[in-house]
Amino acid sequence: MESLSKRAKVLTKKPMTLAERAYLPAIFQGLSITMQHFFRAATKKQVTIRYPEETRPFSPVFRGLHVLKRDEKGRERCTACGLCAVACPAEAITMVAGERKKGEENLYREEKYAVSYEINMLRCIFCGLCEEACPKAAVYLQADKMAPPRFERDEFIYGKDRLVEPVAPDLRSKRGIQLTPEQADTLRTQTA
């Protein structure tokens, strides 16, 4: 029959030669192959990543643990509008809004702010829709942090204590954090 792909190979079952039947040459061939691998593993760098010490690099678009950003003066950006909670397909976000008192202007940027802001990391599917919905550029998914494993369910409900970015810049996430437009601007003016 005409072969369609022209790649078919006719196999003939030849009787084995004496060397093949003796089996020993094949064994030595196999042993030499494994020995090559032995020296390769012993000398070259292995492909194994020793996990706790070494980590695989994250993708720059990885969506990990959430962060609530502060602005350039260290004020919380979130105004508790609730758009992220509405956008969230998994209904993982809840918040309680409050009014900013006099004298708290250095803490919260807008007159309304989130008294509590909770994300249930067991519900969250890390889709990033909250990030897209946020008009104040307050909530972001960090590219270098994951929600670590815990033993208790309630430990997965992250409140403001664990979500809001620290004031000191050196405590913030080191890599892959997306800057807010204002932060990007100040960075640009500083470097220029």
């Binding site: 064994i27 196999g30 593993a41 492909v47």
Partner: protein, 365 residues
């Protein structure tokens, strides 16, 4: 034998025992590291530097695991099986000559646990007993898979012991003795001058066919891949030790490594000149004449170098066992039996005839 000499000999026995155990312990580590390297992996590297404390961690784990007895198992035999496997494995290392004798004035310490003139027979007898440990354990487990593994072990050991014994007879025909020490001492060339004949006196060059038969049978006797049918995971779960847990399991695994150690030790004695090493007499000559050492110490250093050579041969052998294990796939049971009965045994008989002919016509002594 005087009393102090007896005491020294006791120490040698203890040392042999300890070394067998230590080597078996680190075989478990070496096996994993070698397996990892042969497969481009890393291997255990968590416990201690380079994972060197891994055997210790394993021992702690095995000792603290639950002692499990299957329902309907014969309890006494169930415990006796692994014990027997371990005892026989350790007993066989007693007659291995790890070196010649050390000299301190009049006292001579032979670096061999027990010196008997039928050492080879003793090793064979004990190794054959070893299969009872597997059989008893497999039978006492009250488990079909264990029993199948045990039956396989028994039939495999019987078939391969025949070929092994026949391969050995050719060596014995040449050496004319069963004493392992005598066989070792014959594999050297006494004489001056620069020559490589210290190596070519090794039996492996006089008995290449016998050596191949012997090493194949040694793989089968120690139940190592490609002949590890008794514990064949794909068919028998774990073979004879399916039902075993905790240190009883550990003893079986340990016994296997002690057996590997003994098999390589016997192999280096029979075929690789034991504690002989190339240029040894030149070395002795150098020590006695060119250095200020006393005659005793020159002799002792010369002998200790022999011990080092012996262990180098043993470690190379163990490495080869592991290398083969992570290279070859397992034989099928019928292939194993066909290889044993229809190929190895006729080949071994042919080897005997060949050796006999060569001796008769004076080609080799």
């Amino acid at each position: 034998m005087t009393l102090p000499a007896l005491g020294w000999q006791g120490l040698v026995v203890l040392a042999t025992f300890g070394i067998s155990l230590l080597i078996a312990t680190y075989c478990t580590y070496a096996e994993r590291v070698i397996a990892a390297f042969l497969q481009d992996r890393v291997g255990p590297d968590r416990a201690g530097p380079f994972g060197l404390l891994q055997p210790l961690a394993d021992a702690v784990k095995l000792f603290t695991k639950e002692e499990f007895f299957p329902a309907g198992a014969n309890r006494a035999l169930f415990v006796f099986g692994p014990c027997l496997a371990m005892i026989t494995a350790l007993m066989s290392s007693a007659v291995i000559p790890f070196g010649n004798f050390l000299k301190f004035g009049d006292t001579e310490i032979h670096l061999q646990g027990i010196e008997i003139n039928v050492g080879m027979l003793y090793v064979f007898g004990i190794v054959s007993l070893g299969v009872y440990g597997i059989m008893i354990g497999g039978w006492a487990s009250n488990n079909k898979f264990s029993l199948l593994g045990a039956i396989r072990a028994a039939s495999q050991n019987i078939s391969y012991e025949l070929a092994m014994g026949l391969a050995l007879i050719a060596v014995l025909m040449m050496s004319g003795t069963l004493s392992l020490r005598e066989i070792t001492l014959q594999q050297t060339h006494v004489g001056g001058g620069w020559h490589l004949s210290d190596i070519f006196t090794w039996n492996v060059f006089k008995q290449p066919l016998g050596f191949i038969i012997f090493i194949v049978c040694a793989f089968a006797e120690t139940n190592r891949t490609p002949f590890d049918l008794p514990e064949c995971e794909t068919e028998l779960i774990g073979g004879y030790h399916t039902e075993y847990s905790s240190m009883k399991m550990g003893l079986y695994l340990f016994a296997e490594y002690v057996n590997v150690f003994v098999a390589t030790a016997v192999m280096s004695v029979l075929y690789f000149g034991g504690f002989n090493y190339p240029f040894q007499y030149e070395f002795l000559d150098f020590l006695t004449n060119k250095t200020s050492l006393s005659a005793d110490w020159a002799h002792n250093i010369f002998v200790l170098m022999g011990v080092v050579a012996m262990f180098a041969k043993i470690f190379t052998g163990i490495f080869f066992f592991m290398w083969v294990r992570w290279t070859l796939p397992r034989f099928r049971y019928d292939q194993l039996m066909r290889l044993g009965w229809t190929i190895l045994i006729p080949l071994a008989i042919f080897n005997i005839l060949l050796t006999g002919g060569l001796i008769t016509f004076g080609v080799i002594q």
